[in-house]
């Protein structure tokens, strides 16, 4: 589904990615793991069409990415909700933006139907009771659920998540991780989740892309077929993988930057 070809990207002199290649198959769940400053958020912004390669190409479903794609959903750690809009209005923002432009194939897909409701999504994510509240009145978990509802209401085929659960407390984080797995399976989504948490990568990524201190040239992929099975958190396989990932990250010459 995603093909990254000879990607080079830099903000300043040192490239974050240099001649970097990567492929994501449709329906797969990927975790992108690495320390702060390794370029994982940059990779996500590139996939989202919010930044553009200095050289090389990113293709999604065969089409070169030139702008944000209507069928790609993006969920960030925080700050993604409009403070002046209620949960229902925030969740409906994407649909509103699509109605604003109409089915032009650029901002909204050509088959966009204008009269869609977000209420089923609020129901599915357990937000119906707080539909008229403002983000400031919600907990971190409820805010993130709202962001998920807003994205899924647009029926994406690709979901990009940037540290989506790192500001949440442990029980909330775990329940949202499980929910994300369920939703990805239910909607047949291709998932790319960026995280600095080894446990989260091992839990959600059926394949894990390891990034190191820039420039990133090699594509280091770890297969994790056990991800997403019930009871993963308690399995020996999972604990072994966490140990393995930790060792690989410690081999990184830039491990001093690892927090």
């Amino acid at each position: 589904m995603i093909t990254v070809e000879a990607l080079t990207f830099h903000y300043q002199a040192t490239p974050v990615f240099e001649d970097f290649n990567w492929q994501v198959q449709k329906g797969n769940s990927w975790a992108v793991l690495g320390p702060s400053g390794c370029g994982k958020s940059t990779l996500l912004a590139l996939l989202a069409g919010l930044r553009f390669p200095s050289a090389g190409k990113i293709r999604i479903n065969g089409e070169t990415l030139l702008r944000p794609r209507p069928h790609t959903g993006l969920i960030l750690q925080d700050y993604g909700l409009l403070p002046w809009a209620t949960v229902r209005q925030n969740a409906g923002l994407g649909l509103k933006v699509r109605n604003f432009y109409g089915a032009d194939g650029i901002h909204a897909p050509r088959d966009h139907a204008p009269d869609q409701s977000v209420d089923p999504w609020l129901e599915r994510l357990g937000l119906s009771a707080m539909a008229d509240k403002y983000p400031a009145q919600l907990s971190g978990g409820q805010r993130q659920r709202t962001a998920i509802a807003r994205t899924l209401a647009l029926q994406p085929d690709l979901l990009l998540m940037d540290e989506p659960f790192s500001s949440l407390d442990a029980p909330t984080r775990e329940s949202l991780q499980t929910l994300t797995q369920e939703l990805a399976a239910e909607q047949g989504l291709t998932l790319v989740l960026v995280t600095h948490s080894i446990e989260e990568a091992a839990l959600l990524g059926r394949q894990i892309l390891l990034l190191h201190e820039p420039p990133n040239r090699a594509t280091i992929v770890i297969e994790n077929p056990g991800a997403g099975r019930p009871g993963t958190r308690e399995s020996g396989e999972y604990l072994g993988l966490c140990r393995d990932l930790r060792q690989r990250l410690e081999m990184d010459p830039a491990r001093a930057a690892w927090t």
Partner: protein, 250 residues
């Protein structure tokens, strides 16, 4: 934001009138008539149509100046807040002009715009323009890049960002600017209406007090001007509750 109860407002009004009445008794001179006498004259001049005429002229000047300021300063503030480069270009100019008390421009504006409404409207416009410009600019600049990115990822281009992000984000800034400055605007309007006009509450107060020496009428004019200021303030307050309800949740 705190909400003041209606009953407390009423009590405060009664208290202010009581202090006024007591002062009138104690001072006992024509330069401080009692509230009752002022009310009587106020009502007389309202019925005769004189006071409402002056009131409407002043109201028109304030509303026109305010509308002009919002229509120009809000878009300008949005542009400055969105573009770092444009802001860098203009911010030294704004930095120098913003703190100047605009009332000192009254004589100059009168020279340029002459008698009539234009000069008064321009003065009010000037006072509010900078206030709105600076607050809207800072509000637009403080929007987090994550917020903009996530709305862009929903398909929003420049127009949708403006409609769904920048515009609603600037509303509270406009209203805050108005709340902070309508008082000053009405005060400066009073000064401006002392010159080169025979209409407006400022003129009425000045004329009744200094030329006719009709002190109760002068006080009635002061009351009318206070009502104008209060009315503007309450309107902004109401608009804020209506347009920005999220600011009143806890």
């Amino acid at each position: 934001m705190t909400t003041i109860r209606r009953r407390d407002l009423l009590l405060a009004s009664v208290l202010i009138i009581a202090i006024w009445q007591t002062a009138a008794w104690l001072i006992h001179r024509p330069i401080l008539p009692s509230p009752l006498m002022v009310l009587f004259v106020f009502w007389r001049d309202v019925k005769s149509g004189e006071l409402p005429g002056h009131f409407l002229v002043s109201l028109w000047r304030v509303v026109a100046g305010t509308a002009l300021a919002i229509l120009t300063a809000a878009p300008a503030g949005l542009v400055l807040g969105q573009s770092k480069r444009v802001n860098r270009l203009f911010s030294p100019v704004i930095y120098l002009l913003y703190p100047i008390p605009k009332v000192v421009f009254v004589p100059i504006i009168l020279l340029f715009f002459g008698i009539g409404d234009a000069a008064k409207i321009v003065i009010i416009f000037l006072i509010l323009f900078f206030q709105i410009l600076v607050l809207v600019r800072d509000q637009a600049a403080s929007l987090r890049p994550e917020l903009i990115q996530s709305v862009r990822s929903l398909g929003a281009g420049r127009r949708a960002l403006f409609r769904y992000v920048y515009l609603p984000a600037s509303l509270p800034a406009i209203l805050t600017a108005l709340r902070q400055s309508v008082g000053t605007a009405v005060a400066v309007l009073y000064i401006a209406e002392l010159f080169a006009t025979t209409k407006g509450l400022g003129y009425y107060i000045y004329f009744e007090g200094s030329t006719l020496l009709d002190y109760p009428a002068m006080y009635a004019g002061v009351v009318a001007m206070s009502l104008l200021g209060l009315g503007m303030y309450f309107t902004v307050d109401r608009l804020e509750r209506w347009l920005c309800p999220w600011q009143f949740t806890n």
